[in-house]
């Protein structure tokens, strides 16, 4: 019986012969694959633009903290064994943040925070705003950046320095266009040096002004302003916004055990995430994916029809060749296989050209145009695989037709 390598060699030679024959009608072959070429290229470009746009949207949403969980302390009901009525005391400690990062694989960073409404004064002007105390880490994971001046760091925190960052709104209200950096403001009644103004953050989805804030180091806020040993909240950054749910469970368990909450008792904290932003983020990604998928399906259908049409013509034209091959000993399945593979080769050629053209066009657009593009290599690979499967699929009809021809009739064809 025939050996495997010989069979493979035969198969390769058959394909080579097919290629030579396809090359007979260069223009037609080129036209037949051009539909698929343009379709695949268009999908790649669209995917690139779409991915770029999606990336930009996601970056912005993420800047607003879609990967953050906020553990907010509920008022403690018992402090030092006594029932408390006043809801100013919490059980949450700064160390709880470190514990969460240490114990949960899904948390990459955590930052405790305190906040308090109070009045800030400069000269004769004053403004009611929100004081936030947090760590240098907290600035980072909450995307608080300096527009002018500098941010505070851990050294400022450990030294409990009275340094403050003003939100843009506070800066405008107090300084009205002057550069606040270097000036001394009074936060409550304590003097602070303004070391920076934060970059504009806008509002959250609820319309709350994120720039109406004064940010100071956590330790300074706790010891010099509020005189408390607990914190109001812990911000926890997830490894990915997709893992927020498991992270939330981890955080809940870790905190319940740290705070020695008995089962059956309500959590002395609430865990919040940016649900609205997350929905927006996932919605945007889904809409973009659907658009690209839809275009891809359309492109493949159009490309497939082009190849199908040319293969049908080819079978009709090459009837005598089919008859000859049958006379020389080709079985029906040999003929069928030949035409299926010719179709697949056309499709792969078109798909490859389309991927190359698409990636080149996306690259050119990224350089020349105002778009941010993410070249979708995975889409390119997928395009190739889909093209080949498409070729195999649409090849079945013409190939079956070719295989059904009676050798005698086929040889007589003109």
């Amino acid at each position: 019986m025939i050996s495997i390598p010989a069979r493979r060699r035969k198969f390769a030679r058959g394909l080579l012969l097919s290629l030579q024959l396809l090359a007979t009608h260069r223009l037609r072959t080129a036209l037949s694959v051009s539909g698929l070429l343009m379709g695949v290229a268009a999908v790649i470009v669209m995917a690139a633009i779409g991915k770029g746009a999606e990336q930009r949207v996601l970056d912005r949403l993420r800047a607003m903290g879609t990967d953050l969980l906020v553990v907010r302390a509920a008022p403690a009901q018992r402090v030092a064994g006594r029932q408390r009525q006043v809801d100013s005391h919490t059980l949450l400690r700064a160390a709880d943040g470190d514990a969460i990062v240490g114990e949960s694989a899904f948390a990459v960073a955590a930052a405790p925070a305190v906040d308090q409404s109070l009045v800030v004064r400069w000269g004769r002007l004053n403004t009611a705003t929100t004081l936030t105390g947090t760590t240098a880490q907290g600035l980072r994971i909450r995307n608080i950046e300096a527009e002018s001046g500098r941010l505070f760091d851990d050294v400022d925190g450990r030294a409990r320095r009275r340094v403050a960052l003003l939100g843009a709104t506070v800066a405008r209200n107090l300084f009205a266009g002057l550069d606040p950096v270097g000036h001394i403001v009074r936060v409550g009644s304590v003097p602070f040096e303004v070391i920076g103004v934060t970059r504009l953050r806008g509002t959250d989805p609820g319309g709350l002004d994120l720039d109406d804030v004064v940010v100071v180091p956590l330790e300074t806020a706790m010891r010099r302003l509020l005189n408390i040993a607990y914190v109001h909240a812990v911000f926890v950054q997830a490894r990915s916004s997709l893992e927020l749910e498991v992270l939330e469970q981890d955080v809940r368990e870790i905190l319940r055990s740290r705070l020695a909450v008995r089962s059956g008792v309500l959590d002395p904290f609430v865990i919040q995430n940016q649900a609205v932003l997350l929905r927006t983020e996932r919605g945007a990604a889904r809409a973009m994916n659907r658009l690209v998928m839809g275009t891809a399906v359309l492109a493949l259908v159009v490309g497939g029809i082009g190849i199908l049409a040319v293969m049908l013509i080819s079978v009709r034209e090459r009837t005598r060749e089919i008859g000859l091959r049958r006379a020389l000993g080709a079985k029906r399945r040999d003929i069928r296989r030949q035409f299926v593979f010719e179709s697949a080769m056309l499709a792969v050629a078109g798909g490859t050209a389309g991927v190359i053209a698409g990636i080149a066009a996306a690259g050119a657009a990224a350089v020349l145009g105002p778009w941010e593009l993410v070249v979708p290599w995975s889409a390119g690979l997928l395009g190739l695989v889909c093209s080949m499967l498409l070729g195999l699929a649409v090849g079945v009809i013409p190939a079956t037709r070719a295989a059904r021809l009676e050798p005698v009739e086929a040889l007589r064809a003109v």
Partner: protein
């Protein structure tokens, strides 16, 4: 080699039934060179198709090399065509885009057995028809006679016992026709069976034996007196 008994074949076109073969009986021994001669439309091509396992008779018996293929499936027929029969057509039927060598190797694509280096086999086959220096030429770069010799080389590559030729000289001038017939003569002399279909008495007379065919029947079975040797003109 060939045993045909009362072969019947008819074609139906709508209500019209045409009886093409009306009981054909003959034998061909191995190494014989037989011409089936008759006017066009006499059914000789249909007979050749049946002999070549391209078509099946409606009735009668046909044995090829002692084997009965009347109940064989398409795969078995294909395999037998590949292994034991070499076809030569009036129109040559070469693939225009493929070189002479590639054309000659075509039957090897469908051979079940691995008979050795295909290119060596193809070159040997081309050499046998005197075209060893034309292997890389495309059919369009060859004369009609040369194209038909490529086709004969293709028919020979699987070393078949039977060569079936349908008006092989029909598209050739006298000089080329003579050369082609010389090749058939030599093949028959080397124990291959050659069956040739023609309407041309001059061509038929180069065979050992003429079966005169008319209206679906053999009307005469005539042995040539002196077996003509291959003509002295050397095939280039």
């Amino acid at each position: 080699m060939i045993f045909a008994q009362s072969l019947i074949k008819s074609y139906r076109k709508g209500a019209l039934v045409t009886n093409v073969l009306k009981g054909v009986t003959f034998r061909v021994a191995q190494g014989e060179f037989v011409a089936i001669m008759g006017p066009s439309g006499s059914g000789k091509s249909t007979l050749l198709n049946i002999l070549g396992l391209l078509d099946r008779p409606d009735g009668g018996r046909y044995l090829l090399g002692g084997a009965d293929f009347s109940s064989a499936d398409d795969d078995a027929l294909s395999a037998a065509r590949n292994r034991t029969i070499g076809f030569v057509f009036q129109q040559f039927h070469l693939l225009e885009r493929a070189s002479a060598l590639r054309n000659v190797t075509l039957p090897l694509l469908y051979a079940d057995e691995n008979t050795g280096d295909e290119m060596v086999l193809a070159e040997r086959a081309l050499e046998a028809v005197g075209l060893s220096d034309r292997g890389d030429y495309l059919p369009s770069e060859l004369s009609g006679g040369q194209q038909q010799r490529v086709a004969i080389a293709r028919a020979l590559i699987n070393d078949p016992a039977l060569i079936l030729a349908d008006e092989p000289t029909g598209n050739l001038d006298a000089q080329n026709a003579t050369e082609i017939l010389d090749i058939f003569r030599r093949l028959a002399d080397s124990a291959r069976t050659v069956v040739l279909v023609t309407h041309d008495r001059g061509v038929a007379e180069r065979a050992d034996r003429i079966l005169a065919f008319e209206d679906g029947r053999i009307v005469a079975d005539e042995a040539m007196q002196s077996r003509p040797r291959a003509s002295t003109a050397k095939v280039p």
